[in-house]
């Protein structure tokens, strides 16, 4: 060990910080600063909910602009050193930058939604927005982490404010109950995940995600390879429990319906989308690291892993759709539909693993290209999902505000009283079903397409595809149930005099419009998605 010169260390650090880390990490820094500013403002300035909201919104917008400038750099090809930074714990490349942009955009939507639909006092507003931003920060870190420990930190940073957000309506019995359940379930799942991380890092000797592949391959190639590989798989499955919790995949979905029903619709919308975007980003990165270049004993595990994910995806899709059948509470129904949608998205990852298995490499297809296509489909799906799910939950919040109910019985005639909200709901719901020409259709289409490619390697993927396709038919029933209640039911007495605020209308249209645009002109978005996929799979 060479003797340490303290000043050299400091100098290197400042240089790194100034030239490399801060510019790359600018959006997150802005979010951090915004959190601090909100808290400071609540002490110094006269507290109003509006000030806090404005501060949070400006912060997020600035952060998004930061992402925008980074996008330019990524897009221009002058890439500012895509790769690991911040001591290697984060990744900065053409994939993470847009994903972070997606997260920030989503946070802005969630923020504006809660700003316009939740009525709370100044003090509560400060806390709410702080928690929202804190959770967003965690998601941002999670999405770009290249280190399992960093991922865990991001995971907890996203979850813990989430527990508090679910319980934000302290005075409601259901809210506190939901929060407690979410907390206990989340703690158990993250504990399992952490235990898995500890085992995996012990077995491989590294916490790095990008080096995971080579280390696992090294284990597989030695004499004790078979047993050690099993241990690796075990720890990977433990880690997967954490992912599955965040993505609410069967059989680790139990928290989702309860937490979403107990939480306010805005929070439910936030929880249902943000975690997915960030977690899928990490899941894809891990899947890529663990597949493709494997050799020896470890390589044999890629295809089974892919099939395993396929089974989980099938279970999630089927379960989510079937369990949604008899739900009467719109939030709970949407929670189950969330489970199903996670399943659809997971199908893309399953297809990716199958395609990148040694069997795929020897089958003569262009593995790189089809892998890119899988990722492209997933990204597109996520992007549409951001809008359609937050739209659905946001409209549920509006139902609650205007009709005082979130039950299918109670929201009858909502679409008649508020035609614009109704139209936006139609767009969101039909997109969730996957009808053309809405964005959700393309998402499903591309995911099914990757499954189809994968089915050339493993016929099991054809089964997954069939189950997925069958489920789109199933899901129609309960989605149409919402629309039926909202449009065909007779509104309650006296509700016809209700008028929607123009800001609400504007927000609803702002969310619904991209779904429509993504459906009719998916070209731009897919080009972008394929750009992202290309930077991930070189």
């Amino acid at each position: 060990m060479q003797p340490l010169d303290f000043s050299t260390v400091i100098q290197t650090l400042t240089q790194n910080a100034q030239n490399v880390w801060m510019p790359h990490f600018f959006p997150e820094v802005v979010v951090c600063v915004t959190i601090v500013l909100i808290l400071l403002a609540s002490i110094c300035l006269k507290r109003t909910a509006r000030t806090t909201f404005a501060l949070a919104l400006i912060g997020l917008l600035v952060a998004l602009c930061g992402i925008g400038s980074q996008l330019n750099v990524v897009g221009s090809g002058v890439s500012a050193n895509p790769g690991e930074y911040f001591g290697g714990v984060l990744i900065w490349d053409g994939f993470t930058v847009p994903v972070r942009g997606m997260l920030l955009l989503f946070a802005i939507l969630a923020l504006s939604l809660s700003g316009s639909t939740m009525k709370f006092g100044a003090r509560d507003a400060t806390d709410f927005y702080t928690l929202l931003l804190g959770s967003t920060l965690g998601l941002l870190v999670l999405a770009q982490s290249n280190n399992l420990l960093m991922a865990f930190v991001g995971f907890e940073m996203a979850s813990i404010p989430g527990y508090a957000l679910v319980g934000f309506q302290r005075h409601r019995l259901r809210s506190s109950e939901a929060s407690l359940k979410y907390l206990l379930y989340g703690a158990a799942a993250s504990g399992v995940m952490l235990y898995g991380i500890s085992l995996l890092s012990g077995l491989t000797g590294t916490l790095s995600v990008s080096q995971l592949g080579s280390h696992v391959a090294a284990i597989g190639s030695q004499a004790t390879g078979a047993t050690a590989s099993h241990a690796v798989i075990f720890s990977l499955l433990l880690i997967f429990v954490g992912f599955a919790f965040k993505l609410s995949l069967v059989p680790f979905h139990f928290w989702a319906p309860d937490a979403f029903e107990g939480a306010s619709a805005e929070v439910a919308g936030f929880l249902s989308v943000g975690g997915k975007v960030a977690t899928f980003s990490l899941l894809v990165r891990m899947s890529l690291a663990l597949s493709g270049s494997m050799t020896g004993e470890a390589a044999k595990l890629v295809l089974p892993l892919g099939i395993g994910l396929g089974v989980v995806a099938m279970a999630s899709v089927t379960f989510g759709n079937l369990a949604a059948y008899f739900q009467k509470n719109v939030k709970r129904l949407l929670a189950y539909s969330t489970i199903a949608h996670s399943g659809y998205m997971l199908m893309a990852v399953a297809a990716l693993l199958v395609l990148r298995s040694p069997e795929g490499a020897s089958s003569g297809i262009d593995v790189k290209q089809v892998t890119q296509q899988c990722i492209e489909g997933l990204v597109f799906y996520l992007f549409v999902y951001v809008f359609m799910n937050i739209g659905a939950f946001g409209l549920t919040a509006l139902m609650r505000n205007h009709f005082g109910s979130e039950d299918l019985e109670g929201v009858k005639g909502f679409g008649r009283v508020f035609p614009i909200h109704g139209a936006c709901l139609v767009v969101c719901v039909f997109s969730l079903v996957g009808l053309p020409p809405l964005g959700g259709f393309w998402g499903k289409f591309v995911v099914f397409y990757s499954l189809f490619m994968a089915s050339k390697i493993s016929t099991f993927m054809m089964v997954v595809l069939l189950v997925g396709g069958l489920n789109t038919v199933f899901s129609l029933f309960y989605y149409i149930g919402i629309l039926k209640a909202v449009f065909l039911g007779e509104p309650r007495e006296g509700s016809s005099s209700l008028v929607a605020a123009s800001s609400e209308n504007g927000l609803a249209m702002l969310i619904a419009l991209p779904i429509l645009l993504l459906g009719m002109f998916p070209g731009a978005a897919t080009d972008f998605a394929s750009e992202m996929a290309r930077s991930l799979v070189r």
């Binding site: 407690l180 359940k181 206990l184 379930y185 158990a188 799942a189 099993h230 798989i233 075990f234 499955l237 433990l238 997967f240 429990v241 059989p251 680790f252 139990f254 928290w255 319906p257 309860d258 089974p304 395993g308 089974v311 379960f319 079937l322 369990a323 059948y325 008899f326 009467k328 290209q369 890119q372 296509q373 009808l435 053309p436 020409p437 393309w442 591309v446 099914f448 397409y449 189809f452 490619m453 050339k456 396709g469 069958l470 789109t472 038919v473 199933f474 129609l476 029933f477 309960y478 149409i480 149930g481 039926k484 449009f487 065909l488 002109f521 998916p522 070209g523 897919t526 080009d527 394929s530």
Partner: protein, 735 residues
């Protein structure tokens, strides 16, 4: 040279295609402003579709000039396929998956455009009169017993949207675009069937149509995926574009005929991809499944009669003349992709459908339901024709059918309008005196659908020519393949049945004595705006097929006929064969039709024998038929009952939580089973019901797991973990 004509045609058709969209947008956004009593929406929609017709006619003219005039069309020197393909707009690229809005124009496209726009124009005009009751601030819906605001503009907006989707489907130059518009016409149909949303039956029917169609569409997607995976293109054909990559049809054709024909492609683009034979069959069946759903073929046909819940102009346009014909149109388009096995399946599906639907039509009493079943039956004829190799005959019938069926529907609409929304035939009778024009028009329609005419002359109704063509092909086919002789006998018998039930309808409605005084008193002839379309359409229903297979219409269609189906023409009759059997088939069909007519005349006009007595006498036979199948009971015993028990055992039956959609389907199944209809409906609806039962049982089980206890959830984490690990190491890894 060919480039400019392609551009010209594309421009004209694009105008025809997009003006309805424009009118839809205008109507939707201004409808509210115009007010409920304004006719503006109707004017906009009618003007748009009329523009479409003019534009299509210009395009047709341009095409005929291009090929060298009418003479050339009627007497082509050699079979040459004048088709033009191109791209309007590139939509998106997913990896190697390129999606664009493109066009594929040949004489079939042009004919379809002219037919759709023309009929739609007539129906728009008719609907202005028919829907005029909606022109009010309040409209009393007697069936649903509610008073609601009128929806005049909404109706025309939807109608425009439908026209746009339908034309988009016809002009589409790639399968993907077809699929999108395919879904879009489904959505329009959903909106239009459910137009009277207050009526529960309309809701159920709309849902049913939508869901049944989705079942078929799933097959379509699979077919589409297979074709794309192996050929790498969605485009139909690029043969007429210089330097473009080969389209689907060329690839399949090259595969079928061997490499020789595609040699120049190989030189330009490298070896052509091929599709494995079995997958080609699956793809063909998948695409056909989509057509089965849309064209209401057995076993997915039950949605169409229910769809009659929509307003009658909708039934005329969407559910008889155009949308349901889209399935036939698509089957015809994909003819080059179908293998002989698929064609056989198509023929049999068509054959079963045409017979089954016709038998049901005999006993139906609702005037629109009779027509609905007859539509299904006639669509079956078209499918049969395509299946036995009579490509031209099938499409010939498609066009003639569109004219006479829209005429019949509008006629029935006029009757319903005249009788103040009475649809039950037993309550009508003797209407000819009160409604002479309608009666005359309906008579023309009946003659056309029954296929009356004098052989060896041009003096025949359009249906005669087209049905004759189909039967001749079927006869030729069954001569070559004696084991498939059913494919000729069933349509022959059905020709008689068709004539019988159509004339039964006519005699029931227009002759005899009045059966219901109330209806009689209020009955009146329809206003001018409604009977002018009737007259126009009856002229076309009579004369559109003038000249038969030497006439203009058939020649137009024949010019687009693909050279072969996918693999080989083994077993399919040649032109020569068909020509030989023409005479026999024509005479037989006419005899059969006349017999049917005579029977109907005796039974329902002269009342020589009382129909009721016959019904009474045939009751044992009838019950025997139903009882012999015992399908509903069997089904109950095998599927419904156990799943009910399981569901009840698991969570206790909670009828109240039944989801309305499933409930609606189940209720319709029960209704159908109870009423004196035929077994097949029970089968299909029973399947829907049974799957509903199974799904609900499963769903209840899942609800039980969600116990609501935090500790048990944690336990489930452990259990889930064990499951995942055990499943992985125990099941997945060993394989």
């Amino acid at each position: 040279m060919s480039n400019t004509i392609a551009q010209d045609l594309a421009t004209y058709l694009a105008i025809a295609w997009l003006t309805p969209l424009l009118s839809f947008v205008i109507a939707i956004f201004n409808g509210f402003k115009w007010g409920r009593t304004s006719r503006n929406a109707a004017f906009a929609a009618t003007a748009a579709i009329a523009t479409g017709f003019v534009s299509s006619a210009i395009a047709m003219n341009r095409w005929i000039c291009e090929i060298g005039g009418w003479d050339k069309l009627l007497h082509p020197d050699h079979h040459e396929h004048h088709a033009y393909a191109g791209v309007f707009y590139d939509l998106a690229t997913f990896g190697s998956l390129k999606l664009s809005i493109s066009y594929y124009i040949d004489s079939l496209t042009l004919t379809m455009f002219c037919m759709v726009t023309f009929i739609a124009t007539c129906i728009h005009i008719f609907a202005m009169g028919y829907m005029s009751e909606e022109l009010a601030e309040t409209y009393d819906d007697h069936q649903a017993h509610v008073t609601r605001p009128g929806r005049f503009y909404r109706f025309f907006a939807f109608l425009s949207l439908f026209c746009f989707s339908m034309l988009g489907l016809v002009i589409a130059g790639n399968i993907f675009q077809v699929f999108v518009f395919w879904e879009l016409v489904g959505v329009c149909s959903y909106l239009l069937i459910g137009f009277y949303t207050e009526r529960r039956s309309a809701n159920v029917a709309a849902n049913k149509a939508f869901i049944v169609n989705r079942v078929g569409d799933f097959g379509f997607i699979i077919g589409l995926m297979i074709l794309w995976t192996y050929t790498g293109t969605f485009t139909f054909s690029n043969a007429h574009m210089e330097g473009a990559a080969p389209g689907l049809f060329e690839i399949i054709a090259a595969q079928a005929t061997g490499a020789s024909e595609a040699a120049h492609h190989v030189a330009a683009h490298g070896a052509l991809p091929t599709v494995p034979q079995t997958l080609l069959i699956i793809a063909g069946l998948g695409i056909f499944a989509g057509c089965v759903g849309k064209s209401a073929q057995f076993p997915l046909h039950t949605w169409l009669p229910d769809a009659m819940e929509g307003p009658t102009p909708v039934s005329a346009l969407v559910h008889s003349a155009t949308m349901v014909a889209a399935g036939v149109y698509l089957s015809a388009r994909f003819y080059p992709v179908f293998t002989t096995e698929v064609l056989t399946v198509i023929a049999y599906v068509g054959c079963i459908t045409l017979f089954v639907a016709a038998t049901i039509a005999i006993v139906a009493t609702d005037i629109k339901k009779v027509l609905a079943y007859s539509t299904i039956s006639q669509l079956g004829y078209m499918m049969l024709a395509i299946g036995v190799g009579g490509w031209g005959a099938g499409l010939f019938h498609l066009i003639t059918h569109a004219f006479f069926k829209s005429l019949l529907f509008l006629g029935s609409g006029a009757v319903i309008y005249g009788c103040h929304h009475e649809q039950e035939m037993p309550k009508m009778g003797g209407l000819l005196k009160k409604m002479p024009v309608t009666g005359f028009a309906m008579a023309v329609g009946c003659c056309a659908i029954a296929g009356f005419g004098i052989p060896h002359t041009n003096l025949a109704f359009s249906g005669f020519f087209s049905k004759d063509a189909i039967l001749a092909t079927a006869l030729a086919y069954s001569k070559i393949n004696p084991s498939h002789s059913l494919l000729f006998l069933a349509p022959l018998v059905t020709a008689g049945i068709t004539s019988f039930y159509m004339w039964r309808l006519w005699f029931y409605t227009f002759t005899g004595k009045t059966r219901d005084r109330h209806v009689e008193e209020h009955c009146h002839e329809v206003p001018k705006i409604m009977f002018i379309p009737l007259l126009v359409l009856s002229m076309l229903a009579f004369g559109c097929a003038w000249g038969g297979e030497e006439g203009v219409l058939y020649s137009l269609l024949h010019a687009s006929q693909p050279e072969s189906c996918a693999i080989s023409d083994a077993g399919l009759p040649t032109h020569h064969h068909i020509h030989e059997s023409h005479e026999t088939a024509g005479v037989l069909a006419l005899t059969s039709a006349l017999l049917g007519f005579a029977l109907a005349y005796l039974l329902y006009c002269k009342s020589v024998i009382s129909p009721a007595a016959i019904k009474e006498q045939l009751k044992p036979l009838h019950s025997f038929l139903v009882a012999k199948w015992r399908f509903d009971e069997l089904y109950d015993a095998v599927f419904v009952w156990p799943s009910k028990r399981v569901g009840g055992f698991i969570a206790g039956i909670d009828r109240n939580v039944f989801d309305n959609a499933i409930d609606g389907l189940a209720a319709s199944a029960v209704k159908v089973a109870k009423s004196n209809r035929r077994f097949d409906e029970v089968v299909v609806d029973g399947a829907v019901r049974a799957s509903g039962e199974i799904v609900s049982a499963l769903a209840r089980t899942f609800r039980v797991i969600q116990t609501g206890r935090a500790r048990q959830y944690v336990l489930f984490v452990a259990v889930g973990l064990v499951l995942v690990v055990a499943g992985f190491f125990g099941v997945i890894l060993p394989h």
